[in-house]
Amino acid sequence: MWNKKGSHLLIIVEILASFLVLFGVTSLIVYNLQNYQEPIGFEYKNRWALGFDARGQADSTIGDIMQQIKSRVLSYPQVESATVFSSNLPYSMNSSNGNVTNNKATVLAQQFRTDLDMPKTLGVPVLEGRWFDKSDELPDARTLVINAPLKKVLFGDEPALGKKIAFGGADDKRKSTDYFTIVGIVGNFKPRGEYQENLPGLFQMNKGQDRNYTRSMLLNVKPGTDAGFEAKLTRDLGLLTKGWPVEVSYLENQRTNQHNIALVPVIIFLIVSGFLLINVALGLFGVLNVSIAKRRGEIGLRRALGATERRISRQFVGEMWVLATFALVLGLLLAGQFPLLNVFNLKSSVYLTAIGVSVAVIYLLVTLCALLPSRQAATVQPAVALHAE
Protein backbone atom coordinates (compact mmCIF):
# COMPACT_ATOMS: atom_id res chain seq x y z
CA MET A 1 0.00 0.00 0.00
CA TRP A 2 1.00 3.57 -0.53
CA ASN A 3 2.19 6.03 2.04
CA LYS A 4 -1.16 7.68 2.43
CA LYS A 5 -0.24 10.44 4.86
CA GLY A 6 2.64 11.70 2.72
CA SER A 7 0.80 11.91 -0.55
CA HIS A 8 -2.36 13.18 1.11
CA LEU A 9 -0.40 16.08 2.57
CA LEU A 10 1.16 16.75 -0.82
CA ILE A 11 -2.24 16.79 -2.50
CA ILE A 12 -3.69 19.08 0.15
CA VAL A 13 -0.80 21.53 -0.25
CA GLU A 14 -1.14 21.49 -4.05
CA ILE A 15 -4.87 22.11 -3.89
CA LEU A 16 -4.39 24.87 -1.32
CA ALA A 17 -1.78 26.58 -3.50
CA SER A 18 -3.91 26.43 -6.62
CA PHE A 19 -6.90 27.70 -4.70
CA LEU A 20 -4.98 30.74 -3.48
CA VAL A 21 -3.66 31.54 -6.97
CA LEU A 22 -7.10 31.07 -8.41
CA PHE A 23 -8.58 33.28 -5.72
CA GLY A 24 -6.11 36.04 -6.64
CA VAL A 25 -6.90 35.95 -10.34
CA THR A 26 -10.63 35.63 -9.97
CA SER A 27 -10.70 38.49 -7.46
CA LEU A 28 -8.99 40.67 -10.04
CA ILE A 29 -11.29 39.51 -12.82
CA VAL A 30 -14.45 39.82 -10.75
CA TYR A 31 -13.34 43.29 -9.65
CA ASN A 32 -12.91 44.42 -13.25
CA LEU A 33 -16.11 42.74 -14.41
CA GLN A 34 -18.15 44.28 -11.62
CA ASN A 35 -16.73 47.68 -12.52
CA TYR A 36 -17.42 47.10 -16.19
CA GLN A 37 -21.09 46.54 -15.46
CA GLU A 38 -21.41 50.06 -14.05
CA PRO A 39 -21.78 52.61 -16.90
CA ILE A 40 -19.14 55.33 -17.01
CA GLY A 41 -21.84 57.99 -17.00
CA PHE A 42 -20.61 60.19 -19.86
CA GLU A 43 -20.03 60.19 -23.64
CA TYR A 44 -16.55 59.84 -25.07
CA LYS A 45 -17.18 59.65 -28.82
CA ASN A 46 -16.44 62.90 -30.66
CA ARG A 47 -15.23 64.42 -27.42
CA TRP A 48 -11.92 66.26 -27.46
CA ALA A 49 -9.86 67.44 -24.50
CA LEU A 50 -7.80 70.65 -24.73
CA GLY A 51 -5.04 71.23 -22.24
CA PHE A 52 -3.30 74.63 -22.10
CA ASP A 53 0.11 75.55 -20.78
CA ALA A 54 -0.22 79.14 -19.61
CA ARG A 55 3.55 79.65 -19.57
CA GLY A 56 4.65 82.80 -17.78
CA GLN A 57 1.20 84.39 -17.94
CA ALA A 58 0.06 86.17 -14.77
CA ASP A 59 -2.31 83.85 -12.98
CA SER A 60 -4.94 86.50 -12.35
CA THR A 61 -5.75 86.84 -16.06
CA ILE A 62 -6.01 83.19 -16.96
CA GLY A 63 -9.67 82.74 -16.01
CA ASP A 64 -10.66 85.47 -18.46
CA ILE A 65 -8.46 84.09 -21.23
CA MET A 66 -10.02 80.63 -20.78
CA GLN A 67 -13.41 82.33 -21.21
CA GLN A 68 -12.24 83.96 -24.45
CA ILE A 69 -10.97 80.60 -25.68
CA LYS A 70 -14.32 79.03 -24.94
CA SER A 71 -16.18 81.74 -26.89
CA ARG A 72 -13.80 81.36 -29.84
CA VAL A 73 -14.10 77.58 -29.85
CA LEU A 74 -17.88 77.78 -29.83
CA SER A 75 -17.80 80.03 -32.91
CA TYR A 76 -16.70 77.11 -35.10
CA PRO A 77 -19.54 75.18 -36.74
CA GLN A 78 -17.68 71.92 -35.96
CA VAL A 79 -18.00 72.48 -32.21
CA GLU A 80 -21.40 71.72 -30.73
CA SER A 81 -20.57 72.61 -27.15
CA ALA A 82 -17.63 73.24 -24.84
CA THR A 83 -17.00 73.23 -21.11
CA VAL A 84 -14.11 74.35 -18.94
CA PHE A 85 -12.92 71.46 -16.79
CA SER A 86 -10.33 70.87 -14.07
CA SER A 87 -7.20 68.93 -15.02
CA ASN A 88 -8.64 65.59 -13.87
CA LEU A 89 -10.33 65.25 -17.25
CA PRO A 90 -12.05 62.03 -18.28
CA TYR A 91 -9.49 59.36 -19.32
CA SER A 92 -6.57 61.50 -18.15
CA MET A 93 -3.98 60.37 -15.64
CA ASN A 94 -4.76 63.19 -13.22
CA SER A 95 -6.94 62.82 -10.21
CA SER A 96 -8.04 65.07 -7.41
CA ASN A 97 -9.88 63.96 -4.36
CA GLY A 98 -10.51 64.75 -0.72
CA ASN A 99 -12.77 63.90 2.18
CA VAL A 100 -16.31 65.21 2.37
CA THR A 101 -18.70 64.83 5.26
CA ASN A 102 -22.32 65.41 6.24
CA ASN A 103 -21.17 65.13 9.89
CA LYS A 104 -22.36 61.53 9.98
CA ALA A 105 -20.46 59.74 7.25
CA THR A 106 -17.13 60.83 5.80
CA VAL A 107 -15.92 59.62 2.45
CA LEU A 108 -13.11 60.23 0.01
CA ALA A 109 -14.64 61.80 -3.11
CA GLN A 110 -13.28 62.76 -6.52
CA GLN A 111 -13.58 66.50 -7.01
CA PHE A 112 -14.21 68.12 -10.38
CA ARG A 113 -14.43 71.81 -11.21
CA THR A 114 -16.43 72.74 -14.28
CA ASP A 115 -19.03 75.14 -15.63
CA LEU A 116 -22.63 75.41 -16.74
CA ASP A 117 -22.12 73.47 -19.98
CA MET A 118 -20.63 70.23 -18.63
CA PRO A 119 -23.81 68.04 -18.77
CA LYS A 120 -24.52 69.17 -22.32
CA THR A 121 -20.91 68.69 -23.48
CA LEU A 122 -20.29 65.27 -21.93
CA GLY A 123 -23.86 63.97 -22.10
CA VAL A 124 -24.12 63.57 -18.32
CA PRO A 125 -27.76 63.20 -17.20
CA VAL A 126 -28.97 65.08 -14.10
CA LEU A 127 -31.05 62.58 -12.11
CA GLU A 128 -32.38 64.84 -9.35
CA GLY A 129 -32.49 68.59 -8.78
CA ARG A 130 -30.62 70.69 -11.29
CA TRP A 131 -27.22 71.39 -12.75
CA PHE A 132 -25.46 74.69 -11.93
CA ASP A 133 -27.04 77.84 -13.36
CA LYS A 134 -26.26 81.57 -13.35
CA SER A 135 -27.24 81.83 -9.68
CA ASP A 136 -24.39 79.51 -8.73
CA GLU A 137 -21.86 81.86 -10.31
CA LEU A 138 -22.52 84.49 -7.61
CA PRO A 139 -19.55 84.66 -5.22
CA ASP A 140 -21.45 83.65 -2.08
CA ALA A 141 -23.46 80.87 -3.69
CA ARG A 142 -22.08 77.72 -2.03
CA THR A 143 -23.55 74.89 -4.03
CA LEU A 144 -22.45 71.45 -5.17
CA VAL A 145 -23.65 68.74 -7.51
CA ILE A 146 -22.84 65.21 -6.35
CA ASN A 147 -22.93 61.90 -8.18
CA ALA A 148 -25.07 58.89 -7.34
CA PRO A 149 -22.36 56.87 -5.50
CA LEU A 150 -21.58 59.83 -3.23
CA LYS A 151 -25.25 60.26 -2.45
CA LYS A 152 -25.45 56.59 -1.60
CA VAL A 153 -22.56 56.57 0.91
CA LEU A 154 -23.51 59.85 2.57
CA PHE A 155 -27.28 59.58 2.61
CA GLY A 156 -28.25 56.01 1.72
CA ASP A 157 -31.85 56.03 0.61
CA GLU A 158 -32.62 59.36 2.30
CA PRO A 159 -33.10 62.42 0.09
CA ALA A 160 -29.92 64.42 -0.44
CA LEU A 161 -31.17 67.49 -2.26
CA GLY A 162 -30.87 70.63 -0.14
CA LYS A 163 -28.65 68.86 2.40
CA LYS A 164 -25.38 70.48 3.44
CA ILE A 165 -21.95 68.90 3.26
CA ALA A 166 -18.45 70.18 3.90
CA PHE A 167 -14.89 69.28 2.98
CA GLY A 168 -12.82 67.50 5.60
CA GLY A 169 -13.67 65.07 8.38
CA ALA A 170 -16.78 64.83 10.53
CA ASP A 171 -15.04 66.15 13.66
CA ASP A 172 -13.29 69.12 12.06
CA LYS A 173 -14.16 72.53 13.48
CA ARG A 174 -16.02 74.63 10.92
CA LYS A 175 -18.36 77.62 10.57
CA SER A 176 -21.78 77.44 9.02
CA THR A 177 -20.41 79.24 5.95
CA ASP A 178 -18.04 76.32 5.32
CA TYR A 179 -20.96 74.16 4.22
CA PHE A 180 -22.17 73.62 0.66
CA THR A 181 -25.74 72.87 -0.34
CA ILE A 182 -26.45 70.01 -2.69
CA VAL A 183 -28.54 71.27 -5.61
CA GLY A 184 -28.34 68.36 -8.00
CA ILE A 185 -27.46 64.72 -8.37
CA VAL A 186 -25.97 63.20 -11.51
CA GLY A 187 -25.51 59.47 -12.22
CA ASN A 188 -22.21 57.61 -12.20
CA PHE A 189 -19.06 59.44 -13.15
CA LYS A 190 -16.07 57.19 -13.82
CA PRO A 191 -13.42 59.36 -15.46
CA ARG A 192 -10.89 56.51 -15.69
CA GLY A 193 -13.38 54.56 -17.76
CA GLU A 194 -15.15 51.24 -17.74
CA TYR A 195 -12.76 49.35 -15.45
CA GLN A 196 -12.65 52.04 -12.79
CA GLU A 197 -14.58 51.51 -9.62
CA ASN A 198 -17.81 53.48 -9.41
CA LEU A 199 -16.34 56.06 -7.04
CA PRO A 200 -18.10 58.87 -5.22
CA GLY A 201 -17.56 62.27 -6.80
CA LEU A 202 -18.73 65.85 -6.69
CA PHE A 203 -18.75 68.87 -9.00
CA GLN A 204 -17.97 72.45 -8.01
CA MET A 205 -18.80 75.57 -9.96
CA ASN A 206 -15.70 76.98 -11.63
CA LYS A 207 -15.63 80.55 -10.31
CA GLY A 208 -13.66 83.11 -8.34
CA GLN A 209 -9.95 82.55 -7.89
CA ASP A 210 -10.32 78.92 -8.98
CA ARG A 211 -11.05 80.04 -12.55
CA ASN A 212 -7.39 80.98 -12.93
CA TYR A 213 -6.27 77.44 -12.23
CA THR A 214 -8.72 75.64 -14.47
CA ARG A 215 -6.82 75.29 -17.70
CA SER A 216 -8.48 72.45 -19.56
CA MET A 217 -11.53 72.31 -21.73
CA LEU A 218 -13.74 69.60 -23.20
CA LEU A 219 -15.39 69.89 -26.63
CA ASN A 220 -18.24 68.03 -28.22
CA VAL A 221 -17.42 68.10 -31.93
CA LYS A 222 -19.60 67.09 -34.88
CA PRO A 223 -19.08 63.49 -36.06
CA GLY A 224 -16.42 63.32 -38.76
CA THR A 225 -14.46 66.32 -37.49
CA ASP A 226 -10.87 65.53 -38.37
CA ALA A 227 -7.23 66.42 -37.83
CA GLY A 228 -7.58 69.25 -40.38
CA PHE A 229 -9.84 71.05 -37.97
CA GLU A 230 -7.56 70.18 -35.07
CA ALA A 231 -4.64 71.90 -36.86
CA LYS A 232 -6.71 74.99 -37.61
CA LEU A 233 -7.95 75.09 -34.02
CA THR A 234 -4.49 74.91 -32.46
CA ARG A 235 -3.22 77.55 -34.84
CA ASP A 236 -6.08 79.94 -34.10
CA LEU A 237 -5.86 79.36 -30.36
CA GLY A 238 -2.11 79.92 -30.50
CA LEU A 239 -2.76 83.34 -31.96
CA LEU A 240 -5.47 84.12 -29.43
CA THR A 241 -3.35 83.15 -26.42
CA LYS A 242 -0.15 84.61 -27.82
CA GLY A 243 1.63 81.31 -28.01
CA TRP A 244 0.27 79.02 -25.23
CA PRO A 245 1.05 75.49 -26.25
CA VAL A 246 -2.17 73.48 -26.52
CA GLU A 247 -2.48 69.75 -26.34
CA VAL A 248 -5.46 68.18 -28.10
CA SER A 249 -6.44 64.62 -27.28
CA TYR A 250 -9.41 62.54 -28.37
CA LEU A 251 -11.21 60.86 -25.50
CA GLU A 252 -11.77 57.81 -27.68
CA ASN A 253 -8.00 57.27 -27.95
CA GLN A 254 -7.39 58.10 -24.32
CA ARG A 255 -9.96 55.51 -23.43
CA THR A 256 -7.99 52.79 -25.20
CA ASN A 257 -4.90 53.77 -23.21
CA GLN A 258 -6.78 53.58 -19.95
CA HIS A 259 -8.19 50.19 -20.87
CA ASN A 260 -4.70 48.92 -21.52
CA ILE A 261 -3.54 50.22 -18.18
CA ALA A 262 -6.40 48.38 -16.48
CA LEU A 263 -6.31 45.17 -18.49
CA VAL A 264 -2.64 44.48 -19.15
CA PRO A 265 -1.91 43.53 -15.52
CA VAL A 266 -4.99 41.32 -15.49
CA ILE A 267 -3.87 39.56 -18.66
CA ILE A 268 -0.32 39.11 -17.42
CA PHE A 269 -1.56 37.76 -14.10
CA LEU A 270 -4.00 35.54 -15.95
CA ILE A 271 -1.29 34.08 -18.16
CA VAL A 272 1.13 33.55 -15.28
CA SER A 273 -1.48 31.96 -13.06
CA GLY A 274 -2.84 29.98 -16.00
CA PHE A 275 0.55 28.36 -16.40
CA LEU A 276 0.78 27.87 -12.66
CA LEU A 277 -2.63 26.26 -12.58
CA ILE A 278 -1.84 23.95 -15.48
CA ASN A 279 1.30 22.94 -13.61
CA VAL A 280 -0.62 22.28 -10.45
CA ALA A 281 -3.26 20.34 -12.38
CA LEU A 282 -0.57 18.22 -14.00
CA GLY A 283 1.10 17.72 -10.62
CA LEU A 284 -2.18 16.73 -9.04
CA PHE A 285 -2.93 14.46 -11.96
CA GLY A 286 0.50 12.87 -11.59
CA VAL A 287 0.19 12.35 -7.85
CA LEU A 288 -3.27 10.87 -8.26
CA ASN A 289 -2.13 8.72 -11.12
CA VAL A 290 0.67 7.29 -9.03
CA SER A 291 -1.44 6.77 -5.95
CA ILE A 292 -4.22 5.16 -7.95
CA ALA A 293 -1.71 2.95 -9.75
CA LYS A 294 -0.40 1.91 -6.34
CA ARG A 295 -3.90 0.94 -5.36
CA ARG A 296 -4.56 -1.21 -8.41
CA GLY A 297 -4.65 -4.25 -6.17
CA GLU A 298 -7.30 -2.69 -3.97
CA ILE A 299 -9.29 -1.72 -7.06
CA GLY A 300 -9.09 -5.29 -8.37
CA LEU A 301 -10.17 -6.65 -5.01
CA ARG A 302 -13.13 -4.33 -4.70
CA ARG A 303 -14.23 -5.22 -8.20
CA ALA A 304 -13.87 -8.92 -7.40
CA LEU A 305 -16.17 -8.33 -4.44
CA GLY A 306 -18.80 -6.69 -6.62
CA ALA A 307 -17.93 -3.00 -7.09
CA THR A 308 -18.85 -1.60 -10.50
CA GLU A 309 -16.41 0.53 -12.49
CA ARG A 310 -18.52 3.57 -11.70
CA ARG A 311 -18.52 2.79 -8.05
CA ILE A 312 -14.72 2.65 -8.08
CA SER A 313 -14.30 6.03 -9.77
CA ARG A 314 -16.88 7.45 -7.42
CA GLN A 315 -14.87 6.21 -4.45
CA PHE A 316 -11.71 7.91 -5.72
CA VAL A 317 -13.49 11.12 -6.62
CA GLY A 318 -15.07 11.03 -3.17
CA GLU A 319 -11.69 10.59 -1.49
CA MET A 320 -10.28 13.50 -3.50
CA TRP A 321 -13.23 15.63 -2.53
CA VAL A 322 -12.50 14.97 1.11
CA LEU A 323 -8.89 16.08 0.57
CA ALA A 324 -10.01 19.07 -1.49
CA THR A 325 -12.42 20.03 1.27
CA PHE A 326 -9.59 19.92 3.81
CA ALA A 327 -7.46 22.14 1.59
CA LEU A 328 -10.34 24.50 0.88
CA VAL A 329 -11.18 24.92 4.56
CA LEU A 330 -7.56 26.05 5.07
CA GLY A 331 -7.82 28.20 1.94
CA LEU A 332 -11.05 29.79 3.12
CA LEU A 333 -9.45 30.68 6.44
CA LEU A 334 -6.83 32.62 4.48
CA ALA A 335 -9.00 34.01 1.69
CA GLY A 336 -11.71 34.90 4.18
CA GLN A 337 -9.38 37.46 5.75
CA PHE A 338 -9.60 39.60 2.60
CA PRO A 339 -13.27 40.54 2.90
CA LEU A 340 -13.02 40.63 6.71
CA LEU A 341 -10.02 42.95 6.81
CA ASN A 342 -11.21 44.86 3.76
CA VAL A 343 -7.85 44.37 2.05
CA PHE A 344 -7.15 46.71 -0.91
CA ASN A 345 -10.43 48.45 -0.10
CA LEU A 346 -12.37 46.23 -2.47
CA LYS A 347 -16.02 45.45 -1.91
CA SER A 348 -16.44 42.15 -0.06
CA SER A 349 -18.72 40.93 -2.86
CA VAL A 350 -15.64 40.84 -5.09
CA TYR A 351 -13.85 38.48 -2.71
CA LEU A 352 -16.93 36.39 -1.99
CA THR A 353 -17.65 35.86 -5.68
CA ALA A 354 -13.99 35.03 -6.29
CA ILE A 355 -14.06 32.52 -3.43
CA GLY A 356 -17.19 30.91 -4.85
CA VAL A 357 -15.75 30.65 -8.36
CA SER A 358 -12.41 29.34 -7.11
CA VAL A 359 -14.05 26.68 -4.93
CA ALA A 360 -16.14 25.51 -7.89
CA VAL A 361 -13.13 25.41 -10.22
CA ILE A 362 -11.08 23.46 -7.65
CA TYR A 363 -13.77 20.83 -7.21
CA LEU A 364 -14.09 20.56 -10.98
CA LEU A 365 -10.33 20.26 -11.40
CA VAL A 366 -10.04 17.65 -8.66
CA THR A 367 -12.98 15.69 -10.06
CA LEU A 368 -11.40 15.56 -13.50
CA CYS A 369 -7.97 14.70 -12.12
CA ALA A 370 -9.44 11.83 -10.08
CA LEU A 371 -11.98 10.63 -12.63
CA LEU A 372 -9.64 10.01 -15.54
CA PRO A 373 -7.03 7.77 -13.86
CA SER A 374 -9.55 5.95 -11.65
CA ARG A 375 -11.76 5.20 -14.66
CA GLN A 376 -8.79 3.86 -16.46
CA ALA A 377 -7.76 1.75 -13.47
CA ALA A 378 -11.30 0.47 -13.01
CA THR A 379 -11.63 -0.89 -16.53
CA VAL A 380 -8.73 -3.29 -16.01
CA GLN A 381 -9.97 -6.89 -15.52
CA PRO A 382 -10.03 -7.62 -11.75
CA ALA A 383 -7.81 -10.66 -12.20
CA VAL A 384 -5.16 -8.58 -13.93
CA ALA A 385 -5.33 -5.86 -11.28
CA LEU A 386 -5.04 -8.43 -8.50
CA HIS A 387 -2.18 -10.14 -10.29
CA ALA A 388 -0.26 -6.84 -10.19
CA GLU A 389 -0.35 -6.79 -6.38
Binding site: L301, A304, G306, Q381
Partner: protein
Protein backbone atom coordinates in the same frame (compact mmCIF):
# COMPACT_ATOMS: atom_id res chain seq x y z
CA UNK B 1 -24.04 -23.97 -11.40
CA UNK B 2 -20.94 -22.97 -13.38
CA UNK B 3 -20.27 -24.31 -16.84
CA UNK B 4 -17.16 -23.67 -18.94
CA UNK B 5 -17.51 -24.48 -22.66
CA UNK B 6 -14.58 -24.76 -25.05
CA UNK B 7 -12.63 -22.25 -23.02
CA UNK B 8 -9.35 -20.89 -24.27
CA UNK B 9 -7.31 -18.22 -22.55
CA UNK B 10 -4.32 -16.49 -24.09
CA UNK B 11 -2.32 -13.85 -22.22
CA UNK B 12 -0.86 -11.36 -24.64
CA UNK B 13 1.83 -8.87 -23.75
CA UNK B 14 3.74 -6.80 -26.25
CA UNK B 15 6.52 -9.41 -26.38
CA UNK B 16 4.99 -12.78 -25.58
CA UNK B 17 1.82 -14.78 -25.94
CA UNK B 18 1.05 -17.40 -23.29
CA UNK B 19 -1.58 -20.02 -23.94
CA UNK B 20 -2.78 -20.46 -20.35
CA UNK B 21 -5.84 -22.63 -20.99
CA UNK B 22 -7.07 -24.58 -23.98
CA UNK B 23 -10.17 -26.61 -24.75
CA UNK B 24 -11.58 -26.60 -21.22
CA UNK B 25 -15.03 -28.13 -20.77
CA UNK B 26 -16.11 -28.33 -17.16
CA UNK B 27 -19.39 -28.19 -15.31
CA UNK B 28 -19.53 -27.56 -11.58
CA UNK B 29 -22.76 -28.84 -10.08
CA UNK B 30 -24.62 -27.29 -7.17
CA UNK B 31 -23.43 -28.53 -3.79
CA UNK B 32 -20.19 -29.94 -5.14
CA UNK B 33 -16.83 -29.55 -3.42
CA UNK B 34 -14.40 -29.68 -6.32
CA UNK B 35 -10.63 -29.41 -6.13
CA UNK B 36 -8.25 -28.49 -8.93
CA UNK B 37 -4.66 -29.71 -8.90
CA UNK B 38 -1.72 -29.36 -11.22
CA UNK B 39 1.86 -28.11 -11.36
CA UNK B 40 2.68 -24.47 -10.94
CA UNK B 41 1.87 -22.36 -13.99
CA UNK B 42 -0.53 -24.90 -15.53
CA UNK B 43 -3.45 -22.48 -15.47
CA UNK B 44 -5.29 -23.26 -12.24
CA UNK B 45 -5.65 -19.64 -11.12
CA UNK B 46 -6.62 -18.62 -14.63
CA UNK B 47 -9.38 -21.22 -14.61
CA UNK B 48 -10.67 -20.05 -11.24
CA UNK B 49 -10.57 -16.41 -12.32
CA UNK B 50 -12.68 -17.24 -15.37
CA UNK B 51 -15.22 -19.06 -13.19
CA UNK B 52 -15.33 -16.08 -10.84
CA UNK B 53 -15.81 -13.60 -13.71
CA UNK B 54 -12.58 -11.83 -12.77
CA UNK B 55 -11.33 -12.14 -16.34
CA UNK B 56 -12.77 -12.86 -19.76
CA UNK B 57 -11.84 -15.95 -21.82
CA UNK B 58 -10.17 -15.48 -25.20
CA UNK B 59 -12.62 -17.99 -26.67
CA UNK B 60 -15.48 -20.10 -25.41
CA UNK B 61 -18.29 -19.43 -23.02
CA UNK B 62 -18.81 -19.15 -19.27
CA UNK B 63 -22.30 -19.89 -17.93
CA UNK B 64 -23.48 -19.06 -14.44
CA UNK B 65 -26.76 -20.70 -13.40
CA UNK B 66 -27.38 -21.71 -17.03
CA UNK B 67 -26.94 -18.16 -18.39
CA UNK B 68 -23.98 -17.36 -20.67
CA UNK B 69 -22.28 -14.18 -19.41
CA UNK B 70 -20.53 -13.29 -22.67
CA UNK B 71 -22.81 -10.36 -23.40
CA UNK B 72 -23.00 -9.08 -19.81
CA UNK B 73 -22.04 -5.50 -19.12
CA UNK B 74 -19.93 -4.34 -16.19
CA UNK B 75 -22.92 -3.77 -13.88
CA UNK B 76 -24.32 -7.25 -14.56
CA UNK B 77 -20.95 -8.90 -13.97
CA UNK B 78 -20.47 -6.85 -10.80
CA UNK B 79 -23.86 -8.00 -9.51
CA UNK B 80 -23.04 -11.67 -10.20
CA UNK B 81 -19.62 -11.38 -8.52
CA UNK B 82 -21.25 -9.70 -5.58
CA UNK B 83 -24.25 -11.98 -5.06
CA UNK B 84 -23.37 -15.40 -6.48
CA UNK B 85 -19.63 -15.72 -5.88
CA UNK B 86 -17.31 -15.52 -2.92
CA UNK B 87 -13.57 -15.43 -3.61
CA UNK B 88 -10.74 -16.59 -1.34
CA UNK B 89 -7.17 -15.82 -2.42
CA UNK B 90 -3.88 -17.45 -1.55
CA UNK B 91 -2.46 -14.10 -0.43
CA UNK B 92 -5.64 -13.06 1.42
CA UNK B 93 -5.94 -9.61 -0.24
CA UNK B 94 -7.15 -7.82 2.85
CA UNK B 95 -7.13 -4.01 2.90
CA UNK B 96 -4.58 -3.07 5.55
CA UNK B 97 -6.10 0.31 6.45
CA UNK B 98 -9.43 -1.24 7.31
CA UNK B 99 -10.32 -3.14 10.47
CA UNK B 100 -11.23 -6.81 10.29
CA UNK B 101 -14.92 -5.94 10.56
CA UNK B 102 -14.67 -3.30 7.83
CA UNK B 103 -12.86 -5.75 5.54
CA UNK B 104 -15.59 -8.32 5.97
CA UNK B 105 -18.26 -5.72 5.32
CA UNK B 106 -16.96 -4.71 1.89
CA UNK B 107 -19.14 -7.01 -0.28
CA UNK B 108 -22.23 -5.69 1.49
CA UNK B 109 -21.30 -2.12 0.50
CA UNK B 110 -21.88 -3.06 -3.11
CA UNK B 111 -25.42 -4.30 -2.81
CA UNK B 112 -28.72 -2.72 -1.97
CA UNK B 113 -29.27 -2.92 1.75
CA UNK B 114 -32.07 -5.13 3.07
CA UNK B 115 -33.98 -2.76 5.34
CA UNK B 116 -35.78 -5.47 7.26
CA UNK B 117 -32.89 -7.88 7.88
CA UNK B 118 -29.89 -7.47 10.16
CA UNK B 119 -27.54 -4.54 9.56
CA UNK B 120 -24.31 -4.84 7.57
CA UNK B 121 -22.29 -4.73 10.76
CA UNK B 122 -24.37 -7.50 12.25
CA UNK B 123 -23.99 -9.69 9.14
CA UNK B 124 -20.24 -9.12 9.16
CA UNK B 125 -20.14 -10.04 12.85
CA UNK B 126 -22.07 -13.23 12.17
CA UNK B 127 -19.68 -14.18 9.34
CA UNK B 128 -16.70 -13.64 11.63
CA UNK B 129 -18.38 -15.79 14.26
CA UNK B 130 -18.67 -18.64 11.75
CA UNK B 131 -14.91 -18.61 11.21
CA UNK B 132 -14.25 -18.23 14.94
CA UNK B 133 -12.86 -14.71 14.84
CA UNK B 134 -15.53 -12.68 16.63
CA UNK B 135 -12.91 -11.66 19.23
CA UNK B 136 -10.68 -9.97 16.60
CA UNK B 137 -13.17 -7.65 14.92
CA UNK B 138 -11.46 -4.39 15.88
CA UNK B 139 -8.00 -5.65 14.90
CA UNK B 140 -6.21 -4.64 11.74
CA UNK B 141 -4.87 -7.25 9.27
CA UNK B 142 -1.25 -6.54 10.26
CA UNK B 143 -2.09 -7.69 13.80
CA UNK B 144 -3.25 -11.13 12.66
CA UNK B 145 -1.51 -14.43 11.90
CA UNK B 146 -1.71 -15.95 8.42
CA UNK B 147 -4.40 -18.41 9.45
CA UNK B 148 -6.43 -15.63 11.04
CA UNK B 149 -6.08 -13.49 7.92
CA UNK B 150 -7.36 -16.33 5.79
CA UNK B 151 -10.29 -16.79 8.12
CA UNK B 152 -11.10 -13.10 7.73
CA UNK B 153 -10.96 -13.61 3.96
CA UNK B 154 -13.35 -16.55 4.28
CA UNK B 155 -15.71 -14.47 6.39
CA UNK B 156 -15.58 -11.81 3.67
CA UNK B 157 -16.32 -14.44 1.03
CA UNK B 158 -19.37 -15.82 2.85
CA UNK B 159 -20.81 -12.62 4.32
CA UNK B 160 -23.05 -12.09 1.30
CA UNK B 161 -24.18 -15.73 1.34
CA UNK B 162 -23.06 -16.55 -2.19
CA UNK B 163 -23.99 -19.90 -3.73
CA UNK B 164 -20.43 -20.51 -4.92
CA UNK B 165 -17.13 -20.13 -3.12
CA UNK B 166 -13.95 -20.07 -5.20
CA UNK B 167 -10.74 -20.59 -3.25
CA UNK B 168 -7.33 -20.21 -4.88
CA UNK B 169 -4.80 -22.17 -2.80
CA UNK B 170 -6.42 -21.01 0.47
CA UNK B 171 -3.96 -23.04 2.54
CA UNK B 172 -0.94 -22.37 0.34
CA UNK B 173 0.61 -19.77 2.65
CA UNK B 174 -0.27 -21.56 5.89
CA UNK B 175 1.34 -24.29 7.98
CA UNK B 176 -0.45 -27.63 8.07
CA UNK B 177 -2.25 -27.03 11.37
CA UNK B 178 -3.72 -23.76 10.16
CA UNK B 179 -4.35 -25.32 6.75
CA UNK B 180 -6.38 -28.05 8.39
CA UNK B 181 -8.40 -25.49 10.29
CA UNK B 182 -9.24 -23.63 7.08
CA UNK B 183 -10.09 -26.88 5.34
CA UNK B 184 -12.49 -27.80 8.14
CA UNK B 185 -14.24 -24.46 7.79
CA UNK B 186 -14.62 -24.99 4.05
CA UNK B 187 -15.98 -28.49 4.60
CA UNK B 188 -18.48 -27.10 7.07
CA UNK B 189 -19.55 -24.43 4.58
CA UNK B 190 -19.99 -27.12 1.93
CA UNK B 191 -22.03 -29.20 4.33
CA UNK B 192 -24.20 -26.14 4.91
CA UNK B 193 -24.93 -25.95 1.17
CA UNK B 194 -22.19 -23.91 -0.51
CA UNK B 195 -20.74 -25.05 -3.80
CA UNK B 196 -16.95 -24.85 -3.50
CA UNK B 197 -14.17 -24.92 -6.07
CA UNK B 198 -10.69 -25.01 -4.53
CA UNK B 199 -7.29 -24.90 -6.16
CA UNK B 200 -4.67 -26.74 -4.13
CA UNK B 201 -1.19 -28.14 -4.24
CA UNK B 202 -1.84 -30.45 -1.36
CA UNK B 203 -2.97 -33.97 -2.20
CA UNK B 204 -4.29 -34.52 1.35
CA UNK B 205 -6.50 -31.44 1.08
CA UNK B 206 -7.80 -32.55 -2.30
CA UNK B 207 -8.68 -35.95 -0.82
CA UNK B 208 -11.14 -34.24 1.49
CA UNK B 209 -13.22 -32.97 -1.48
CA UNK B 210 -15.78 -34.73 -3.71
CA UNK B 211 -14.19 -34.36 -7.07
CA UNK B 212 -10.70 -33.72 -8.37
CA UNK B 213 -9.86 -32.07 -11.67
CA UNK B 214 -6.24 -32.26 -12.85
CA UNK B 215 -4.70 -29.68 -15.15
CA UNK B 216 -1.47 -29.93 -17.10
CA UNK B 217 -0.13 -27.21 -19.37
CA UNK B 218 -3.49 -25.53 -19.71
CA UNK B 219 -5.44 -28.67 -20.52
CA UNK B 220 -7.69 -30.86 -18.38
CA UNK B 221 -6.01 -34.23 -17.94
CA UNK B 222 -8.21 -35.77 -15.30
CA UNK B 223 -11.64 -35.50 -13.67
CA UNK B 224 -12.41 -38.05 -10.96
CA UNK B 225 -15.10 -38.45 -8.32
CA UNK B 226 -13.49 -39.07 -4.94
CA UNK B 227 -16.54 -39.79 -2.83
CA UNK B 228 -20.17 -40.42 -3.37
CA UNK B 229 -21.82 -37.16 -4.38
CA UNK B 230 -24.13 -35.98 -1.67
CA UNK B 231 -26.65 -34.38 -4.02
CA UNK B 232 -28.99 -31.97 -2.39
Amino acid sequence: MIALKNIEKVYRTSTIETLALTNINLTVRAGEFLSIMGPSGCGKSTLLNLMGLLDAPSAGQVEIGGQPVTQYRDVDLARLRNQKIGFIFQSFHLINDLSVLDNVEIPLLYRKGDETGPSRRELARQALEKVGLSNRMKHFPSQLSGGQKQRVAIARAIVGQPAIILADEPTGNLDSAMGNEIMSILQQLNADGSTIVMVTHDESMAKRTHRLVRLFDGAMVGDSVLMLNEER
